[in-house]
Symmetry: C2
Subunit: 260 residues, 2 copies
């Protein structure tokens, strides 16, 4: 089980973001992907491209990176350091006795998300409003423990990194099915929900690093804490969003990887 | 056995280099590292950071990459695509029944290099002089086959990517020993040898992607073709370069990864 992610300064984080946060986040995004596969991270490679040797920055970066690494008992086994525009590639190798894929959702399966969505996107747009949301953006907590608890229930799983509509969309496309979700069932922080753009943060914000998975209808009672049912898998194509049982039109999409 | 390398435009290749060559080379450098460990490449991850979607460039890149990949029967199993300044990270996982390290050289071991050194550096500085040398620079051939032939002889091995003095230096440092090499034993292309700077190309040029390894004195007769004995491991520290048995002073170093 392998996951690899490249984070580029100016695209995935801001040049002024703290080195500690960049170090944490560059590992957290790959750990989150490993969690989505039902796996546990074991070995890590770190490729750092740096414009120059900036010792305080490197120290902060390594501190953020190493803390998360040791927290999950993973090992740094190699990497590369090169000169160039700031970017970080992290590759994580994980192990599991039960791998979860994106293409296993079945008709009538319940759709579940963990934690809360939209907080990171809220913090990105409103950086001075909420310490709680800022922490979600800068120090996301990959749901590795929860993934181990739900992996034998999940028929499909993904992590919400590009926004709920985009990532649930990947499950639907891979499973050749559609989804219907109820906006008001999605777990959202109170402060985020007061913002006029809350729907966009929640549906298309990205950077949540929560899990989105599907389970058989009969497994509802087996869900652990912090898992929230937001909808159901149906036949068809695409995702229908309901607001108090009424379908609503959204032009929202998840994070687009290329702005052309 | 894992090897990962990041190649940055402007540092490891020129923006005007052909996409075909960049595709080939970005895989070749990691394959070369896998060869140096006595391993065979099996699985590959490709992380591409592109400024924009340039279809002809991507097509050329993939063509160069895929040709070398299939030539060695390795499989592309994943990766990432992001927007940002052009850079490529390739991670190769390989297998071997007999891993070679850098720290196994012993006193009196013979020092061996494959192929020819300095041709890539010559081509970099004299781009219009030699098709043969240009090919060494733009389409280096990782010595995977030769590595399999010599892995049971080699007491230590490295690939020459940063220049002979730098890379043989890594063997010496890791093995806590020194080396003495005879300049005129190093295999050099005739055209390169006519250039006034040939010594610098050969000793410190980099980008050769040949193998440098050490063998027991008694194994000399077992060396396959295209392997050239250039010196011997001795007690001490550093590398002594002889020119017709006379020590010479060089201020040459290998490729420096950071220009501060």
């Amino acid at each position: 089980m392998v996951s690899t992610d490249t984070l580029v300064s100016g695209t995935h984080f801001k040049a002024k973001d703290s080195a500690l946060s960049v170090g944490h986040k560059s590992l957290a995004v790959s750990f989150s992907d490993i969690a989505a596969m039902g796996a546990t991270p074991k070995w890590v490679l770190l490729n750092l491209t740096l414009p120059k040797i900036d010792k305080p920055w490197i120290k902060g970066f390594i501190q953020g990176f190493a803390k998360l690494l040791s927290q999950h008992k993973a090992q740094l086994i190699g990497g590369d350091t090169t000169q160039g525009p700031l970017s970080i590639t992290v590759t994580v190798m994980g192990e599991t006795d039960h791998a979860i894929r994106r293409d296993g959702a079945k008709i009538d399966d319940l759709i579940v998300v963990t934690g809360e969505l939209g907080s990171a996107a809220y913090a990105l747009k409103n950086p001075k409003k909420s310490k709680h949301c800022n922490a979600q953006l800068h120090s996301p907590n990959p749901r590795l423990d929860l993934s181990q608890q739900v992996k034998h229930l999940a028929t499909s799983m993904i992590d919400v990194s590009d926004g709920l509509l985009a990532d649930l969309g990947h499950i639907c496309t891979a499973s050749e099915l559609a989804a219907v979700i109820e906006l008001n069932q999605i777990p959202v922080n109170d402060m985020v929900k007061k913002h006029p753009d809350w729907m966009s943060y929640v549906l298309a914000g990205g950077d949540d690093y929560q899990l989105c998975f599907t389970i058989n209808l009969t497994d509802e009672d087996k869900l652990p804490d912090d898992c929230h049912i937001i909808g159901q898998i149906i036949a068809g194509k695409g995702i229908m969003v309901l607001d108090h049982h009424q379908p609503i039109e959204t032009n929202l999409k998840g994070y687009q990887h290329f702005n052309q």
